[in-house]
């Protein structure tokens, strides 16, 4: 592609995305659907703004799927993945085997030889990771039990592609098509060598690669991430994040293994690292954009002339595919004891063809497994089924779910649904440290963010889960879970940044309660005027504690000193609230402060026994005694 071509392509794709997604959102449709429709409109069968190069764009944009798996991996702690192993193998394995068997059977019933039927069955048993995960995330359903089950199945399918590719060449019944693509043909010397190895060598190589990725992520990546983070140059960190994903993807591709699987594993390994949120927010926009382009390319690939020439056949394949897959997965969901609403979500979300099907059918064509017309028909059907998914999920959301009600709450899977902590703590210095420790001691998990990479490293050595990053960045707040959290506590050392975070939270996460530590009096006034839910001056607590201790040194009773400190704190809070209103007016401010100071002196902490003391009239034995004396004198006078 020349530079000019590149720019014109970029122009078309970006413009299509910018126009179609907001339009789709405006009509209450999902962004995925917006992209797909945009693809159809600009594609070779629409405005012809893009031609056949759409296919190569699609291959390029498939990298978005790789990035997505990396991000999904980052969200999954290894322990959680281990807990999901039953689901992945059980749900995924049963789904792939049963769906393959049923579709193969149907294809044979339609008169195809078993080899062709099996190839079609295997390819169609897979579902679209890109569309399903993106749609689930968009609707916030990825952490429900239905969403988790769908993810487990998709993960198994991603792995299943490897053996399917290995089995395919054995199914060839016709002479290889000359129009086939380059699978197994060209490639590096290494790939050539790989292609001629027996399967046990390949298996060993794949295992070795996986172990290598795990070890490298654990031992090598963490120190590298720390070093780069310490430079404080943001774009280098972004570059490193991209390097990790692309590096792992290319290793896996050299081995002929799913790149998505490799990055997924790396993501899982890095899931408990302090850089998780930073990596997430750096990769996220790339992934989003690439997936968008990918969906546009899928839309553009739908061959409308083929559909026009045999509309009934295409309709039958598409509807049959969706119905069979949904029915099988619905049954599996029942065996897995999902609630009825989750079962519907689980089955309808996975009822489409996969982007892997494009690859597999292309391969089948080149290997001489399937004839060209069948391949084209199937590719078109898969693309349509993918394009229909957002619509089906919309029906699920708007029509079916309200009828079924939300049963998820009773499903006893709360640990899986709600793993977000209710608190985000920005800044764990000397102050935030106390906040974190106390809330943890009460058993509340915290998402802690700090921008000092060495400090973060130190805290993690102490066993405190901490993430590296600048909390005044919207994307970081987002990936730290600000949209789901209940409270953000801001304890960083920068007045401007604190105000900026408050502004961001107000605008983007209006549900968040905001607590902030003020760094100075004026800062405190500003925060109060902004209506922040809880404001405390950074030194108020420790200062009164010291004053209280000093009073005890002078011989005051602990009880007396403590009450004095409490009264003072309360008084100060009221003064601060009042002063916040008028602090910009110098004259008013000074007269208020003077008035309040004399009020405080009226508290007369020294001479608490005096009735002039405003705070300690209780237990006023002095006055009581005088009164008693008087009474006794009267009584004495009476009796005498």
């Amino acid at each position: 592609m020349t530079q000019e071509q590149f720019f014109s392509s970029a122009l078309i794709y970006l413009a299509a995305a910018v126009i179609s997604v907001p339009l789709a959102k405006k009509f209450g449709l999902s962004a995925v659907l917006g992209y797909l429709v945009a693809g159809m409109v600009i594609g070779p069968f629409g405005l012809r703004a893009i031609g056949q190069e759409g296919e190569s764009v699609m291959h390029f944009a498939e990298f978005g799927v790789v990035m997505m798996l990396f991000l999904i991996g980052l969200e999954l702690q290894p322990s959680m993945l281990w807990r999901m192993r039953g689901k992945i193998l059980g749900l995924g394995g049963v789904q792939v085997i049963v769906t393959t068997a049923v579709i193969t059977g149907i294809a044979m019933a339609c008169g195809l030889v078993w080899q062709m039927a099996l190839a079609i069955g295997m390819a169609l048993s897979l579902s679209s990771t890109a569309i399903v995960m993106q749609s689930l995330q968009e609707k916030g359903l990825s952490k429900t039990s239905g969403g988790r089950s769908a993810f487990s199945v998709l993960l198994f399918q991603d792995i299943a592609v490897i053996p399917i590719l290995a089995v395919y060449p054995m199914l060839a019944t016709i002479s290889p098509s000359s129009a086939g693509n380059d699978h197994g043909g060209e490639g590096s010397a290494f790939q050539q060598w790989i292609a001629h190895q027996p399967s046990w060598v390949l298996t060993l190589l794949v295992l070795a690669a996986v172990v290598l990725i795990i070890l490298a992520s654990r031992l090598l990546l963490r120190p590298v991430l720390r070093t780069v983070a310490a430079t404080g140059v943001r774009e280098v960190f972004v570059a490193l994040a991209l390097l990790i994903v692309i590096g792992i993807a290319s290793i896996m591709m050299q081995l002929g293994v799913s790149a998505a699987l490799g990055t997924f594993i790396a993501g899982v390994v890095l899931a408990d690292s302090e850089y998780r949120h930073e990596l997430e927010s750096d990769i996220e926009p790339f992934k989003g954009l690439l997936l968008g382009v990918f969906f546009i390319a899928v839309g553009a690939a739908i061959d409308f002339s083929l559909i026009k020439s045999m509309p009934l056949t295409v309709a039958a394949i598409v509807l049959g595919l969706i119905f069979i897959k949904a029915a099988i997965i619905f049954t599996i969901g029942g065996v897995a004891k999902l609630g009825s609403d989750q079962r519907v979500l689980f089955s309808l979300s996975l009822a489409q063809g996969s982007e892997f099907a494009f690859v597999l059918f292309g391969f089948a064509l080149s290997e001489g497994i399937l004839p060209a017309e069948t391949t084209q028909l199937l590719i078109a059907s898969v693309a349509i089924s993918m394009a229909l998914t957002p619509l089906i999920m919309m029906v699920e959301e708007k029509v079916l779910r309200p009828k079924l009600g939300t049963r998820e709450v009773d499903d006893k899977q709360a640990d899986e649904i709600d793993e977000q902590s209710p608190f985000i703590l920005a800044g764990v210095g000397r102050f935030g440290n106390f906040v974190a420790r106390m809330l943890r001691a009460q058993g509340y998990p915290l998402t802690v963010i700090d921008s000092d990479s060495e400090h973060v490293e130190f805290l993690r050595k102490l066993g405190i889960e901490t993430f590296y990053g600048d909390a005044s960045r919207l994307d970081l707040l987002e990936s730290a879970g600000a949209a789901e959290a209940k409270t953000i506590m801001i304890a960083i050392d920068d007045e401007e940044k604190i105000l900026h975070i408050i502004e961001l939270c107000r605008k983007h996460f209006p549900q968040l309660k905001i607590m902030a530590r003020a760094l100075s009096r004026t800062h405190e006034y500003e925060l109060i005027q902004l209506g922040v839910d809880f404001v405390i001056h950074q030194h108020s607590g420790s200062a009164t504690a010291m004053a209280e201790a000093a009073l005890k040194c002078l011989g005051q009773r602990a009880n007396q000193a403590h009450r004095a400190a409490c009264y003072f704190t309360k008084h100060d809070k009221i003064v601060t609230q009042q002063a916040a209103e008028i602090h910009r007016d110098q004259g008013q401010y000074i007269s208020l402060i003077r008035e309040k100071i004399s009020e405080l002196e009226g508290f007369n902490l020294q001479d608490a026994n005096s009735h002039k003391s405003a705070i300690e009239k209780a237990w006023a034995s002095e006055r009581l005694r005088k009164a008693a004396e008087k009474k006794q004198n009267i009584q004495a006078g009476e009796s005498s």
């Binding site: 009773r557 602990a558 608490a608 034995s621």
Partner: protein, 176 residues
């Protein structure tokens, strides 16, 4: 001397007459543990296990306090609420306090004559201290007659020698 825990509660000792004076006569004895409640818990957050351990080590608990509103100062009520836990102080198999002695030393602001059915208060001190007596008895403790120092506001002026003697005797005598 019987191992004794003296739980003392006065929210404003700095204003006190009688109790301050009494404390001057506190016998120095390793078997007498003095526990100043308002000094230990200025924030009123009583630590139940710590208190229970203190109680478990002694054979007798004496509560000393000024009588406020015909009752104890607030922190002693809090002490009962927090420390006398079910399963420890009372209830099934609870025997932490069983057989221990319990006694009250209290000061009042009126002369003894007020605490009679005919007097200003219209009730006797026994009646007024009944809730405490019941509390101790429910925990299986042996309740002993209280030491009541009446007219405490005038203590320093009156002849208080006998008061002090009673006070020391109460603290040091082994109950029969």
């Amino acid at each position: 001397m019987l191992k004794t825990l003296l739980i003392f509660a006065h929210p404003a000792l700095h204003k006190s007459q009688a109790n301050k004076l009494l404390l001057n006569y506190l016998p120095k004895d390793e078997n007498l543990i003095f526990h100043d409640l308002y000094e230990a818990y200025p924030d009123h957050i009583i630590h139940p296990q710590l208190e229970q351990k203190k109680v478990e080590q002694v054979d007798r608990i004496i509560f000393q306090f000024p009588l406020y509103w015909y009752s104890t100062p607030a922190l002693i009520k809090e002490w009962f609420d927090i420390v006398l836990e079910y399963g420890w102080a009372y209830g099934h198999h609870a025997d932490a306090l069983v057989g221990k002695y319990a006694q009250i030393i209290t000061t009042t602001g009126s002369p003894a004559s007020s605490y009679t059915p005919e007097g200003q208060v219209q009730h006797t001190m026994e009646e007024i201290l009944l809730p405490l007596e019941r509390t101790f008895k429910l925990c299986g403790m042996i309740y002993q007659a209280p030491l009541i120092i009446h007219d405490a506001l005038q203590l320093d002026k009156n002849n208080c020698k006998s008061c002090m003697e009673h006070y020391i005797k109460t603290l040091t005598d082994t109950p029969s």
